[in-house]
């Protein structure tokens, strides 16, 4: 699997960098936060992203997308990570579209993927029921009802749950919480009866929702009882693409910190001349370089639909969790007092890093999973 970008991917990356730098600098996120924007993202910016084709990057051309693959989406996510861009891109055009792609019937694909690519449909994955990622731990139930299913249960931390038009609900048609078998994915309109959404704002100023389902009706996505097969693929794609965003954030945070070390003077010299800080900066450099490699490898694997996707997703997410955590904590510490102020942007990376860390598996979850996948 190639570990370097091709020309097309490099062009996409440059375009994404331009767009994010000019259209979604961190000041946009601050503005959305301070204005308590009801969507949590800027609809104008989102429209521009749709026009750039970002919503269709991973969607095959047959279904109205660009068929650019996950590597293409990865470079866009990375640039969005650098500017902490708030948009429905991840929840809709990575998580949502991959759920339809892997679980949908031809008819569902034909109908929904085009809507996603066209920016008309926003989606969200309603999975978690506890504060910790636990894909097979769902207790929410789905009961057959006519042509569809009725869903009942409480979901937490549904990213973009308050703006999504359609929800992919992970529910259970048989078995008990913890079983891989018996999980069923149900597609529920968010305005259906029996759906109650409470918006929640996280420390990174992004959105998540708590959603109560009480007999809400929806349609099957994939096979009854075999939802985990689809779910695992969706989650691995989500983990890898989120890691790509985190890589962008970690790099930006790190570069800002190194720059600060060169310019901030104390004791008559730039603080970057102090060896203890130099060594810590150099160690972070190594972590980031290793992180770049695992993200590239995992994106390649996704595009090749390789058997190694699950282990690479865990390798990737665990590493980016730890690297982003380290780099953003050191970023604040090395900036000193100014790093503690809300006025300065460096602290935003720390907040974002921790929310990312707890999205779709923290490092302990992924190290455990990696070990299991490797047979130990």
């Amino acid at each position: 699997m190639p570990l370097v970008l091709n020309e097309e991917q490099n062009m996409l990356k440059d375009a994404a960098k331009d767009f994010c730098t000019n259209n979604t600098p961190i000041t946009q996120m601050r503005k959305l936060r301070d204005e308590k924007n009801e969507n949590g993202y800027d609809t104008g910016t989102w429209q521009q992203m749709v026009e750039l084709g970002w919503t269709g990057i991973t969607i095959p051309e047959d279904f109205g997308g660009l068929g650019f693959g996950y590597m293409g989406m990865g470079v866009v996510m990375e640039e969005c990570g650098r500017t902490l861009t708030c948009s429905p891109l991840f929840a809709t055009a990575v998580v949502g579209s991959s759920a339809i792609l892997h679980g949908g019937t031809d008819e569902q694909k034909g109908e929904l993927l085009g809507q996603i690519a066209g920016g008309e449909l926003l989606m969200a994955l309603a999975l978690e029921e506890s504060p910790h990622h636990n894909p097979y731990g769902v207790a929410a139930t789905a009961e057959k009802s006519g042509a569809g299913y009725k869903v009942t249960g409480s979901k937490k931390f549904v990213l973009d749950g308050h703006i999504a038009n359609k929800l992919v609900v992970v529910a259970r048609t048989s078995g008990a919480a913890g079983d891989r078998d018996g999980i069923t994915l149900v597609l529920v309109d968010s305005d259906a009866a029996g759906v109650s959404v409470t918006r929640t704002i996280m420390a990174d100023s992004r959105n998540a929702a708590n959603i109560e389902f009480s007999g809400a009706e929806g349609v099957l996505l994939g096979e009854e009882g075999k939802g985990a097969d689809v779910l695992d693929k969706v989650l691995d794609a989500a983990r890898i693409l989120l890691a790509a965003e985190m890589l962008g954030g970690a790099q930006e945070c790190y570069e800002r910190t190194v720059e600060y070390l060169k310019t901030r003077e104390q004791f008559g010299v730039p603080i970057g001349s102090f060896q203890a800080l130099k060594h810590r900066a150099a160690e972070m450099f190594c972590e980031i370089e290793l992180s770049k490699s695992v993200v590239l490898e995992a994106l390649s694997a996704l595009d090749e639909d390789s058997d190694e996707v699950p282990e690479l997703a865990s390798l990737c997410k665990a590493r980016l969790n730890d690297t982003y955590n380290l780099v953003s904590s050191e970023g604040v510490q090395m900036h000193g007092g100014i790093g503690m102020t809300d006025e300065y942007e460096i602290g935003f990376f720390m907040k974002r890093s921790r929310v990312c860390e707890h999205t779709f598996g923290n490092s302990a979850f992924h190290r455990d999973r990696y070990g299991v996948l490797q047979g130990y």
Partner: protein, 399 residues
């Protein structure tokens, strides 16, 4: 019965009679009393409790009675703290008056200065804040530029301080200022006390990443300082300032009486929180990787607390403490930061809430406490500065 046993009985009786019941309940963040002219008391018992304790000098139990203090010996004070702890009595008032400028004036102040300032600290009438750091003088504090000119009868101060903790609530500020611009940087600094109730002093709160504003920028624009408010000698303020920093570090690292209770224990100890959010399986925390982090941090904390006790015992037994305040500042803040990070991992997404009803009050507090904890290794001399000090002063490593 020994005198100390006597003292314990009397103290116990007095506390039982005088400590209002509501003052034995756990204090929320905004229940902490700092005193001063701008103070408000959401619970009137807090004011009653403060006044009663202040009347006995027990807000500053070991300060001499002549300055309003309790005049207690170390041993008596330990008994008082014990007895307060026994009934969970709140500390009636805290702040930099008690932990920093008070002890510094006791060391370096003139009799006149002690008589003027200490009793008002004891009574809670005056609240103090600290004017040390400047935008260009953080870790390199001695490069400070706030100008203090001799105008014959008085001094005139111009410049800017930053990270003045609680300046928006304070009445007076103790500051390091430059009185001799030509001298080597450590030798032109003086330590002066400034009344903030004058037009030349402006305070602007700084919003932190935690959303709180515990710190301010404080601007001096021709602020006037009477000459008797110079502490120590002119241009020799660095000595006074450094001593005060030691008091500050003791306080941050929990070496003072605050150390008796954890600083971040709003939600209980780490194992308590883990039991609640992770649960037990066969008597062990269900997530064994997190359990390992919890035991490590908790065991380090216990070793740290034992070391604080050892430092006190070595002091009392007359031996020279072989290790410095810097160690407590360094290890205490790093251990505390780690504790909050582990707490986040334990609580998962429930520990990362910002707004909304999906989080309990305690959970909201945790998110912000976690963010605030990051300042503990920056403020009061960063961890890097503490390690420099240990390397130089304790280990004798060369510059």
């Amino acid at each position: 019965m020994s005198n100390l046993d006597n003292f314990r009985q009397e103290t116990r009786a007095w506390l039982e009679e005088n400590c209002p019941a509501s003052m034995c309940e756990p204090a929320a963040e905004d229940d902490i009393v700092g005193g001063g002219k701008k103070a408000t008391y959401k619970n009137p018992d807090a004011k009653l409790w403060l006044d009663r304790m202040a009347a006995k000098g027990w807000t500053a139990p070991t300060w001499p009675k002549a300055y309003g203090g309790g005049g207690l010996t170390k041993a008596e004070n330990l008994i008082l703290q014990d007895e307060m702890f026994r009934i969970n009595a709140r500390t009636p008032i805290t702040g930099m008056g008690f932990s920093m400028i008070g002890p510094t004036l006791l060391d370096y102040g003139t009799e006149e200065q002690k008589l003027e300032h200490l009793p008002k600290i004891v009574s809670g009438e005056i609240r103090w804040c600290q004017g040390y750091s400047e935008p260009g003088a953080g870790s390199d504090l001695a490069s400070l530029q706030t100008k203090c000119e001799d105008k014959g009868d008085y001094f005139l101060v111009n410049g800017q301080k930053i990270w003045t903790s609680g300046a928006q609530y304070a009445d007076w500020i103790f500051t390091l200022v430059r009185t001799e611009p030509q001298a080597p940087k450590h030798e032109g600094i003086s330590f002066v006390l400034i009344d903030m109730d004058q037009p030349g002093v402006t305070v602007k709160p700084i919003r932190l990443i935690s959303g709180n504003s515990p710190f301010c920028e404080t601007f001096f624009d021709d602020a006037r300082v009477e000459k008797h408010n110079l502490v120590g000698q002119l241009n020799r303020g660095w000595t006074v300032g450094k001593r005060l920093l030691q008091h500050e570090r003791s306080s941050i690292s929990g070496l003072g009486s605050a150390g008796r209770r954890g600083r971040y224990d709003a939600m209980g100890t780490l194992p308590d929180i883990a039991r609640e959010y992770i649960g037990l399986e066969s008597g062990k925390l269900a997530d064994l990787s997190l359990r390992d982090s919890v035991t490590r941090n908790t065991m380090n904390l216990r070793a740290f607390n034992l070391t604080q006790r050892r430092a006190m015992e070595e002091n009392e037994s007359g031996g020279t403490p072989t290790f410095a305040t810097s160690m407590f500042k360094y290890f205490g803040s790093e251990n505390g930061k780690e504790r909050l990070e582990i707490q986040l991992k334990i609580m998962g997404t429930q520990g990362l809430g910002w707004e909304g009803d999906s989080f309990s009050q305690a959970e909201h507090t945790l998110t912000r406490t976690w963010l605030r904890s990051k300042s503990s290794s920056i403020a009061g001399g960063s961890s890097e500065i503490q390690l420099n000090i240990i390397a130089k002063r304790v280990l004798g490593l060369p510059d």
